[in-house]
Amino acid sequence: MPPDTPEPAGASRVAIELIDIRKAFGASDDQTTYAVDRMNLKIRAGEFFTFLGPSGCGKTTTLRMIAGFEEPTSGRLLLDGKEVTGVPAHQRNVNTVFQSYALFPHLNVGENVGFGLSVKGVAKEEIRQRVKAALESVHMAHAIVRKPSALSGGQQQRVALARALVNRPSVLLLDEPFGALDLKLRREMQMEVKEMQRRLGITFIFVTHDQEEALTMSDRIAVMSNGVIQQVGGPVEIYEQPANRFTAGFIGDMNLVEARVTGRSGDRLALDAAGSRFDLQSDLALQPGDRCTLAIRPEALHFVDGDAGPPIRFSGTLSEAVYIGTDTVYGLALADDSRLQARVRNSRDRSIPQTGEPGVVACAPSAIRILTQ
């Protein structure tokens, strides 16, 4: 897809479809652990899609299957609606930006960027122009005759990006592309890459274990753990409505409080959590005696003194206070030995007790999410 004809807004053509994809390394038998397990996913054309998960959860393996460097053990992979299982990488209209950059050390920057066009037999003059344009778009045109070894990490990253984009792939894969950059450069590159993706309208599939990076850049995120997709959704949905304990615990800071259902009337559940009893509205099919987990963000909790304030309360002993600039994070040891974190904006609030003293924190019912898995 040429970059000057972006997908119309709202287009929902499927660029990549993974159907029941599984990947095991080595011989597979009943005991096999799968690096990627029963993955079903549709990635839309023009989307900025991110795989997010802890180290070893199978992100790279997934990306490598899409690129064609690994074959799935079972399942089907469709690119632009066509089955590509068994199609070698060089025949897929997909390009990769490698974490290690993998620039060719014996070729200069221009030759590196022109490599993909050159092996496809594009005319010299066209290669020259497209290489120049691609390098300009990543602000590296001045380095066209330099060797990769003469470039800084950030510059090599830009060249790697240009080398992939100059081929006008329908899908660009990026495996932790900013992993080796320092924080400031990382932020800069995030902005630039996001902007570039918007401009070109190419489908970007991005891999990171940095949740902040995932939340700021992505249209949609797939949260992965142990080879399994835990949740797919937009950044706001992933952050505010985690589907299970893994996502809730992985994205941002989250208190996870074990609770027991003590009663049910209509859509209201009576709960007992760490010695506190309260009602919550829920349409989950929970019955008295069932267990569930309550997910509460630390910033949703604040200290209360007396009866004023939100209705849901937890009392315990203040065990620590960590000053982190605008806020302070307090640790509260509850009756059942579990702990809650409350993140409170620093002020001259008299109601906050000293460490070692008893304290009560409260939150609104809407700030609590009930998780059953």
Binding site: A67, G68, A89, L103, F104, G116, V119, R163, N167
Partner: protein
């Protein structure tokens, strides 16, 4: 030059044994040969030390030119054959053999623990008129009469290949095994067919190994002696057996020494030029 410091003295002391043996076993013999080349032949086949250019003048007569060319041709052809056979072997061991790589390298090197002349004799048995290969072919009915192999140019080339294969394979193997597999994935990703990946990535990055292999084969091949004599019957005269003939048959020590000096000079010039090129290739890589 700065004044020698304690560290330099220690370094010198530690290097002394190697330096001494290098001087005794390398430099002094070379100096003796050079001295001989300027000596005069006496009537009884000995050499009278002095300074005369007689030998060199004689050497640059037209009859010796074909001998130089013979040697050069044998060295070039041997080097090319060694590369054509050695490169694929090195490639296979480095990139395809996986966990058998160590075993294959060992198999390649183990024969070289046996004395060179013994191995050449084995080749004479294999290639002889009533040797293993001929007997087998006649026995199988492939040919009716034994083929003459010993004493032919191809037999010499087989011997050269056999002798210099490890020195070809090892440097190329070293260069290829250091190749970053991710570069080949990147090439694949960018649309290069396996053949394009080879010629544009693998081969250029293995060039330093190829250059080293060429040096390790070409230079000794210029002065090779035993193989052409044993397997080729010594029919075409090359520098190696020319030197032997001049020393032993014609008792012309000064001329033999002069040929040796010229051979040494040619090899040195080749090595020096080569190192230059090699360095610029290395620099171009990084």
């Amino acid at each position: 030059m700065t004044a020698p410091r304690r560290g330099n003295l220690v370094t010198l002391a530690l290097l002394a044994p190697s330096l001494l043996s290098a001087i005794l076993l390398l430099a002094i013999p070379i100096l003796i040969v050079i001295a001989f080349s300027f000596a005069e032949q006496d009537t009884y086949g000995g050499a009278k030390f002095g300074f005369t250019l007689t030998s060199y003048r004689e050497l640059f007569q037209a009859i010796y030119l074909p001998i130089f060319l013979n040697s050069l041709q044998l060295a070039v052809v041997s080097t090319v054959i060694c590369l054509l056979v050695g490169y694929p072997i090195a490639y296979f061991i480095a990139l395809r053999a996986g966990r058998y790589a160590g075993l294959l390298l060992a198999l390649l090197l183990i024969p070289f623990w046996i004395d060179f002349i013994v191995r050449m004799s084995a080749w004479m048995v294999l290639l002889g008129r009533n040797g293993t290969i001929n007997s087998a072919l006649v026995g199988l009915g492939v040919i009716e009469q034994p083929i003459r192999m010993i004493g032919t140019y191809p037999a010499v080339l087989v011997g050269m290949l056999y002798a210099f294969l490890p020195t070809t394979v090892l440097p190329i193997y070293a260069a290829l095994s250091g190749l970053d597999g991710r570069l080949l994935e990147a090439a694949d990703d960018l649309g290069a067919t396996p053949l394009q990946s080879f010629w544009r990535i693998t081969f250029p990055l293995s060039l330093p190994g190829v250059m080293a292999a060429i040096l390790f084969v070409f230079v000794p091949a210029m002065g090779v002696y035993a193989i052409p004599v044993l397997l080729g019957g010594g029919k075409s005269i090359i520098l190696g057996n020319l030197i032997v003939q001049l020393f032993l048959d014609f008792r012309n020590i000064p001329l033999g020494a002069a040929v040796s000096v010229v051979l040494l000079a040619i090899s040195s010039v080749i090595i020096v030029c080569y190192m230059r090129v090699l360095r610029s290739v290395e620099e171009a890589r990084v």
